[in-house]
Symmetry: C2
Amino acid sequence: MDVWTTAEVARLAGVSARTLRHYDAIGLLEPASHGHGGLRRYGRPELLRLQQILLFKRLGLRLDTVASILEGDLEPVAALRRHAAELDAERSRLDRLAATVAATIRQLEGGQPMAPETWFSGLDPATEAQHRDEARRRWGQAVVERAWTTLQALSPEARRAIPEAFNDINTRLAAHHAAGAPTDDPAVQAVTADHYRLIAAHWGDDPTAEAYRGLGALYTDDPRFKATYDQVGDGFADYMRAAMDAYADANL
Amino acid sequence: MDVWTTAEVARLAGVSARTLRHYDAIGLLEPASHGHGGLRRYGRPELLRLQQILLFKRLGLRLDTVASILEGDLEPVAALRRHAAELDAERSRLDRLAATVAATIRQLEGGQPMAPETWFSGLDPATEAQHRDEARRRWGQAVVERAWTTLQALSPEARRAIPEAFNDINTRLAAHHAAGAPTDDPAVQAVTADHYRLIAAHWGDDPTAEAYRGLGALYTDDPRFKATYDQVGDGFADYMRAAMDAYADANL
DNA sequence: GTATTGGCTGACGCTGCGTCAACCGCAAGG
DNA sequence: CCTTGCGGTTGACGCAGCGTCAGCCAATAC
């Protein structure tokens, strides 16, 4: 009884026959010999090797790494150390991910269908930087930059309150827009004043005329905002910006 | 400027053009229209949709899940909750893995090339159980079972010391085996006595003759041990068991 | 005229097998 | 003798999410 078939080895080692064939195919564990009809026959050395393979695999090493170790091309301890570091990195990545997911859940629960102001908070640094570059290139104004970063820096509570409030204002303004009211119409300017106060509430100090115009520019020039606002109605982003400009002209 | 090409959208959103084509291929984000030569043309609604896609993707959701959410077939909050649970499970899996890897590193550092006694400590429960079933079926003796479980229950320090000691004994015994010395040869029995004492040191009380014979059976009948010992020399496992039986006959 | 950009459509590669599909050999039972 | 069934074999697709050629077309810049 020194030789075992595929199914026997599989049972002994607790793996599937398919796995053994796979290991043969990739050269990780070749049978001692082939019998009639290509039957795989494994001997004791193969059993031993399989056990070692399973040991390392159980630790999460990739099969090619396991192969390198068993061929003596890789120091087991070194490989495991590197693997441990990778595990650690992956774990902290999951930690951050979980935190972000939790935050998003809270945000979704607290707000309406998600306002664009909240969609982009917390993009990854690379994307974020790219967006800012794009913005700078387009608007070329430091004030717009400040409007954006300020929006980003809002407290979590403020963020949770934002979607509703914006939704409210957008709805009211959309009504005037649909009715064809000019942007300097008193009713429109009243809504815009609410908008200004909403912004100001999270601005630190009251936004200057320049800052408020910058925010208006954000609505029309940043595709992320523009796309959203134009879904409210065709040309709504432009309408909103015009109303904001008018407000700045008259009041700031 | 209401329409963008693949590369433009890619730049705006910070993804690759290939990704956009992929999303088109799987129906996740189809362009608004196709221009001359099949050029993809994206409009604002597509930009918006892409932003939502990227938001959910960034949270680690699979693309088909994202699709379900955007199609309204899946509640975003519910999906995120489930995802959070999965993240949590995965994280604790990584925790356990990292612990196992660390333990293995310690073991490898403390010992020689890894003795078989340590290889199988800490197999996953299913495999472990299967091995024990196999063992019971083969030996049908509770004492063998006890020999095995006792080996498994050793303290970490003892485990670290074991490989060296076993290696030493194996080397000495292998010399006699190669020289063709009978197993009841006094020199062979002297080495066997050392082996007995080594085992006894971790046994709790001194192993009985029955227990020691059971351990010998483990060496020849468990493929995990047999394969290893037979690598020392052909028939070495049998030789060792015979020496152990002889020792038990004469001294226990 | 041609070199450069960009865009297009395949199609393979990666990881570790699970899962058919199609076929063969051997032994027991009708 | 034939069927059934078990266990073995070799392909080959599928999965997730694109990266990465390869080969071809069109418009633009020099």
